[in-house]
Amino acid sequence: MTDRPTRRELYERARRRRSNVVATVSTIVVVTALVVLIPRSPGWGRVRQAFFDGDVFRESFPGLLQAFWLDVQILLWSTPLILVVSLVVALARNTRSAALFPLRAAAVIYTDVLRGIPVILLVFLIGFGVPALGLSREWANPLIWGTVTLVLSYSAYTAEIIRAGIESVHESQRAAARSLGMTSRQTMTTVVLPQAFRNIVPPLMNTFVSLQKDVALVSLIGPVEILRQAGIDKAKYANFTPYVAASIIFLALTIPFTRLADWALARQRRRTGATTIG
């Protein structure tokens, strides 16, 4: 080939230039519209005062950050528990033996019911209902039951993700393992599950990001975590800025994980591009 660009290169270069121009122009238009139009709206003055008050932000931020530590603790407790419970449920749904029918049925009912009820309702039902059974003082802690609610609810979703992962492993992999003389349990643990988890890292990461936010629902039954603290500050300053501050704190946690989830997905795409059916 000579140094002269090919017809295709010339065409693509022109197309790239055109789309760059379009992207620049549309970005300028949108940003200008936002910057010019929003402050001109009749309520902007009030909104800025109520949601973006710098003093309130500075004063409430440290307390919010401290309250957020409770969210993080709940998150750290629930995540491993969710993984364990959901794996057990997913494996229960995969059993075949007749003796285990009750286990299988329980797993089906569990995932159906728990996925069908809004998390917020479950928080109320379990958070207020279980302690009302008359538990001893240390067990009547709303923190415990809030965490239990999250574990129960999220395990139902996660179990379905794991089950889909198990089913995504091609039957021929099982045949290969069984033909070596592996038992069905060995086949599951050494061949199926490692591949299943590899396939479901992206959806698991997404669920984890979702959990990071839903931890705030525990506030509805008492514990002073970040959302409740923001509510207290809102009442104190008669200003909504603490909610904005709380949102920013959440974003600082969720955005890195969202990026990580996308990266995991992209990496998996690259990998499975090379391996189709093993």
Binding site: A176, R178, S179, G181, M182, G278
Partner: protein
């Protein structure tokens, strides 16, 4: 036939595998319709026939990947098709290689070969891995021991799959169209391995579309048609003077397709 080798269990048995009136259906479709087959120890039997004639199902029934509906499968004279029998100890003794390789993509080549002995036979990890490397060296794959399956060519993958089976020291090998998924130029390296196995005296049951290879390596050839063994005999007879019209038609189609 050459039934003079002594099996590893000590009991000298001329017949390694016997199928007696094996019947198998999927849904309402009969796939194996009364198969009788004797495989003497150290013999190589090839199954030829059109796609859907039951070759693969027959192999899968021998190592119990598919449960047999009726009839008997005898391994060293013991019926292994008995419903309710634990298939795992039987499968240990029978190696199988698949058309699509079915290597474990999340394990290195060495671990693919070592995993059977480790998990099933309880061989310590280091021993299993060093045995695996020895096996891979024997099959000319030493350089790829640390690679992952998707980094290998199809021919290399299939040789690893053979190594994975051999690592279990099987008494019988079942080869299910092991070259059908390979580019033509990669078929030879895999068939060379099978030739080596025959020299070592391995008992093999092979389903194949490679007629020239079947003719070269087989002690006997079985022509399957609609779930039955329609004709069976030494390769020279089957390929040069088949008795059945169906066998002639099949071979003619293969010749027309330039495969023989």
């Amino acid at each position: 036939m050459s039934g003079d080798r002594t099996s590893s269990d000590g009991a000298s048995s001329p017949l390694k595998v016997q199928l007696r009136a094996v019947y198998k259906a999927f849904g309402g479709t009969t796939v194996l319709d009364g198969i009788d087959l004797d495989v003497a120890e150290g013999n190589v039997i090839t199954l030829i026939g059109a796609s859907g004639s039951g070759k693969s199902t027959l192999l899968r029934c021998v190592n119990l990947l598919e449960p047999v509906d009726d009839g008997e499968v005898l391994l060293d004279g013991v019926d292994i098709a008995e419903p309710g029998l634990d298939p795992d100890p039987v499968r240990r003794r029978i190696g199988m290689v698949f058309q699509s390789f079915n290597l474990f993509p999340h394990m290195s080549v060495t671990d693919n070969v070592a995993v059977g002995p480790r998990k099933v036979l309880g061989v310590p990890k280091q021993v299993a891995r060093s045995n695996a490397v020895t096996m891979l060296t024997r099959l000319g794959l030493a350089a790829r021991a640390d690679a992952y399956p998707d980094q290998l060519s199809g021919g290399q993958q299939q040789r690893v799959a053979i190594a994975r089976s051999l690592a279990m020291n099987p008494e019988v090998m079942l080869l299910d169209e092991i070259t059908s998924a390979l580019d033509p130029e990669l078929v030879g390296e895999v068939l060379d391995v099978v030739r080596g196995l025959k020299q070592d005296g391995m008992t093999m049951l092979i389903a194949t579309h490679e007629m020239a290879f079947a003719r070269e390596i087989s002690d006997r050839v079985c022509f399957l048609h609609q779930g039955r063994i329609l004709e069976e005999g030494p390769p020279a007879q089957i390929f040069e003077a088949p008795n059945e019209a169906r066998t002639q038609e099949f071979l003619q189609r293969v010749i027309d397709a330039g495969r023989l």
